[in-house]
């Protein structure tokens, strides 16, 4: 992948990342980037299983972490197919359809949420992916979902009782791909291992969960964190 998305140039950076999939002849998957003060920190993408078998849950799975982590800025791009409603024949309408991506930028602004949506068509010539000029849309596929996720009183916030670790584990088992920027794994609490972790995970993950919890509790113990600290003032 060429580079990370930039908050000040969302359309250009979304096109750069989508061009890799388009150039390989694959579908551009809905990709959500969460930003903190203009820096990308979270990336969520559905796997193939979510795109096909669990399509009904895709919106919920994609934005599930946003209220839990308290993210306020989102960039989301996904595949789009546009047809001309003036063409009477549906078969001809399909044949004349153009393909591209939608780029949606949402930000919490005071009590409200602002969403900016753009549509771009792509064309491949000689292995090179080209993009049309962006056209602004009033409302787009993901706009309502993003507004829902970023609302201050979002009902999704009740996912919080699962904690970041539980949400990340659950999403991963559902086939979602969740990644974080360096340093943000700790800050978002993905390394905060819940007590009795073995009982919360699938049987196949139990041994690894036990190892993880032991490793975690070893680093948390005050004696190993600061050797000699319990011996008093060193006399």
């Amino acid at each position: 992948m060429s580079g990370l998305p930039r908050w000040d140039d969302p359309i250009e950076s979304a096109c750069a990342e989508a061009a890799v999939a388009v150039g390989r002849g694959l579908q551009v998957r809905p990709t959500l980037y969460g930003f903190e003060d203009g820096q990308p920190t979270l990336r969520v993408q559905p796997g193939l299983g979510v795109l096909h078998a669990k399509r009904a849950d895709m919106h919920a799975l994609l934005i599930g972490l946003v209220p839990v982590l308290g993210i306020r800025q989102i960039l989301l791009f996904s595949t789009a197919r546009s047809t001309d409603p003036d063409v009477p024949d549906p078969v001809l309408q399909d044949a004349l359809a153009t393909y591209g991506i939608t780029v949606e930028v949402a930000e919490r602004d005071g009590d409200g949420v602002t969403v900016d949506a753009h549509l771009l068509d792509h064309h491949v010539e000689g292995g090179e992916v080209g993009w049309s000029d962006p056209s602004r849309l009033d409302d787009c596929i993901w706009s309502a979902t993003l507004r829902h996720a970023l609302r201050i009183d979002s009902p999704l916030a009740e996912n919080d009782r699962l904690g970041s670790f539980g949400m990340a584990y659950a999403l991963s088992r559902q086939g979602m791909v969740v990644e974080v920027a360096p340093g943000w794994r700790d800050r978002y609490g993905f390394t905060r291992v819940p007590p009795r972790l073995e009982r919360l995970v699938r049987p196949t993950d139990r041994r690894r969960a036990r190892d993880l919890r032991r490793r975690h509790s070893r680093t948390q113990r005050p004696t190993s964190a600061a050797p000699g600290a319990r011996r008093g003032d060193g006399r």
Partner: protein, 234 residues
């Protein structure tokens, strides 16, 4: 044998694997690359009835533990219609799963060789490969065993491995390992650890599962931005 280069490994595989496809029952093939040239070829054992672990999981673990810069796993596949799984096989093909090592995990790509030599190779979604999530998982939870012990384990498991005639980089790396009086005991202990590791991975990913298993595996971190890490540590 001429050197197999990373840049044109796909053409080489298409040439070598093409004629094998068909009535016979071909076995998976693993190529490991160091500095852009293949230094190990592992021809998988065939699947048997009472296998403790399937050969695919074993191959993936070997690929990761050998610690090469890049690896390509070629799997013989049958193409059937997902919408009607009861229907007969439409065609046969080879699927290539390539993994390039990075700081954290691997960068994955899945390609399909042209069926019957007609047309061009094409990309597939990574989850289409039965070993994509397995490779990702194994690379992030590497045991870091001695190369010599890994080669010993590969032979004990019944895989056939080969190195190029004029290129013994792998054997040199193996010879640099610990060879002392306890060598055989150490090797068996390593084999035991690798076996336990493969058992666990096979239970998590079930690479030989049916078509519905395709949608029931953990997420694959195939194109993680540089330096980023998966959120779930498990």
């Amino acid at each position: 044998m001429t050197a197999i280069r990373w840049d044109d490994h796909e053409a080489w595989l298409a040439r070598v694997l093409g004629p094998l496809d068909g009535g016979q029952s071909p076995a998976p093939l693993l190529l490991c690359f160091t500095d852009g040239v293949a230094d190990t070829v592992i021809d998988s054992r065939h699947e048997q009835r009472h296998d403790e672990v399937d050969p695919l999981t074993e191959l993936v673990v070997l690929a990761v533990e050998l610690g090469a810069d890049a690896a390509v796993l070629a799997l013989p596949m049958r193409i059937a219609d997902l919408e009607s799984p009861a229907r007969q096989t439409v065609a046969r093909t080879w699927m290539l799963t390539s993994a390039v090592r990075r700081d954290v995990g691997v960068q994955l790509r899945v390609r399909q060789l042209p069926v019957g030599g007609v047309g061009a190779a094409s990309d597939l979604d990574v989850e289409m490969s039965p070993v994509a999530s397995l490779l990702d998982d194994a690379a992030r939870h590497r045991l870091d065993e001695d190369v010599l012990h890994v080669l010993y384990t590969a032979c004990r498991w019944g895989h056939t491995f080969g190195v190029p005639e004029d290129d013994d980089r792998l054997l040199e790396r193996a010879a640099a390992g610990s060879l002392d009086a306890d060598a055989s005991r150490g090797a068996d202990a390593a084999r035991h650890r690798l076996r336990r590791h493969t058992l666990e991975l096979a239970a998590r990913h079930r690479p030989l599962g049916g078509w519905d298993q395709l949608f029931d595996r953990p997420g694959v971190h195939a194109s993680t931005p540089a330096g980023w890490v998966p959120a779930c540590p498990l």
